[in-house]
Amino acid sequence: MLKLPVYLDNNATTPMDPRVLEAMTPYFLEHFGNAASRNHPFGWEAEEAVDYAREQVAKLIGADPKEIIFTSGATEADNLAIKGVYEMYASKGNHIITCVTEHKAVLDTCKHIERIGGEVTYLPVKDDGLIDMAELEAAIKPTTILIAIMYANNEVGVIQPVQEISALAKKRGILFFTDATQAVGKIPVDVQKDGIDLAAFSAHKMYGPKGIGALYVRRKNPRVKVTAQMDGGGHERGMRSGTLNVPGIVGFGKACELARLEMADEAKRLSSLRDKLENALLEIEEAYVNGNKEHRLPHVSNISFKYVEGEGLLMGFNKAIALSSGSACTSASLEPSYVLKALGLGDDLAHSSLRFGLGRFTTEEQIDYTIDQIRTTVLKLREMSPLWEMYKEGIDLNTIEWAHH
């Protein structure tokens, strides 16, 4: 049975797993205590629940529970990692290396660091979306204190060579922070094997609630510290003050446990559905996959349909299928996706892209329906596209003098 609407925007957020909600519910009502209340059972219950969830979260990424700092989400964790390291290690240097396809939470935090006197190198990416290790190595200076490279990209799903990056960072005595928001819970992330010093991630990308995330901060080899960005009661080992979001943390823990137990099967199922979708859509003339196909999240695909504009395309089925596009029209900035542009796509191809993020509740019927709807709409819009007509007449669009506005 086909279930509509189809939700394929799981990189933006995921629906909650009902099992997560079930785990959370008691912590809104009967167990409402403040985890910092040490003098009565309400506080004890809350603290116990947080401790248990902290173990569940830590276990998913091979960390010690003490290394998990709960935050309001990945954006806050990104801010805490970068600003916190910058302040804590000021005596060692002021240079940070990141890359141009990072999430805005990292890029804008780095811009802030520049405004307060720090120096940031923004590495370009290759056409497949991966960074060049030689360029990373060449960018390192005696003043470099942090390398901040994402685990997997939110728009194209490419997975950066995390182990190579961490090995290089370790060799040069630099801390390695990774925004692992899209990766944790989807593919195996192990802070030991991957050599990660700090990692940001969030519950709502893995079927948990919004408003809760974490920063992993390594405690051994080396012992990493970050300067708190939120002052107050000294919660979370003094790194993040603020009353703990107990129901959120309980839900986050449950979501991590489910991900750990079900990830392998889920990734297999989703990559086969993703491949089915992708292969079918690539049969459409002038359709191209963006980003490296070998090193990629199992549930993500980003495809450009040349000569058709992304938002116009989405409109063909957006009541039935939820997707996102790299088109300018779908963003507040009116600029096409900076990630796709960094991959060397022209603005026209960036405008023509769709991002597919499959998820735990995506069914094969939904994928079949999506293939059908997209194919029909692309063909319909091409019949309406002056660019398609020119392309078919053999006119090189680059030779036309467009009236830029």
Binding site: G312, A328, D347, H351, M384, W402, H404, H405
Partner: protein
């Protein structure tokens, strides 16, 4: 952001999609926008020599739903008007008719530009001077 009923209707049932013979003396073609900006409109008019009335109008548009709807509506409005009457079509009339939100006003400006470009193409083909238009500057 939700689309208005009228935008949806034009998107689903666009009026006058197609191509007129751009080599014909009676046909004026306007091609405006740029692929990098995410919209390109091509609007064509076919003018009756004797009466100066626009007999037919066609469009093809690469762009969002509002751009498609703006050009579809423009072709509807053009048919039956004289070239001089067509010059009076203002983008704000398109905005009102389609209930375009502020971020989509540029789609209506593009449609107005396409009309003017098509008229100028027709004029120059027929030995008339191209008209100068003020920049709307909303793009």
């Amino acid at each position: 952001m939700a689309y208005s009923e009228k935008v949806i209707d034009h998107y689903q049932n666009p009026k006058n999609v197609g191509t007129l013979d751009k080599g014909s003396k009676n046909v004026g073609t306007g091609l405006v926008g740029a692929p990098e900006c995410g919209d390109v409109m091509r609007l064509q008019i076919e003018v009756d020599d004797a009466t100066g009335v626009i007999k037919d109008a066609k469009f093809k548009t690469f762009g969002c739903g509002s751009a498609i709807a703006s050009s579809s509506l423009a072709t509807e409005w053009l048919k039956g008007k004289t070239v001089d009457q067509a010059l009076e079509i203002d983008n704000m009339a398109i905005v009102e008719e389609l209930n375009l939100p502020p971020v989509k006003i540029h789609c209506s400006v593009l449609a107005e530009d396409a009309i003017k470009a098509a008229i100028n193409d027709y004029r120059t083909k027929n030995g008339m001077e191209a008209l100068k238009f003020e920049e709307k500057g909303v793009h």
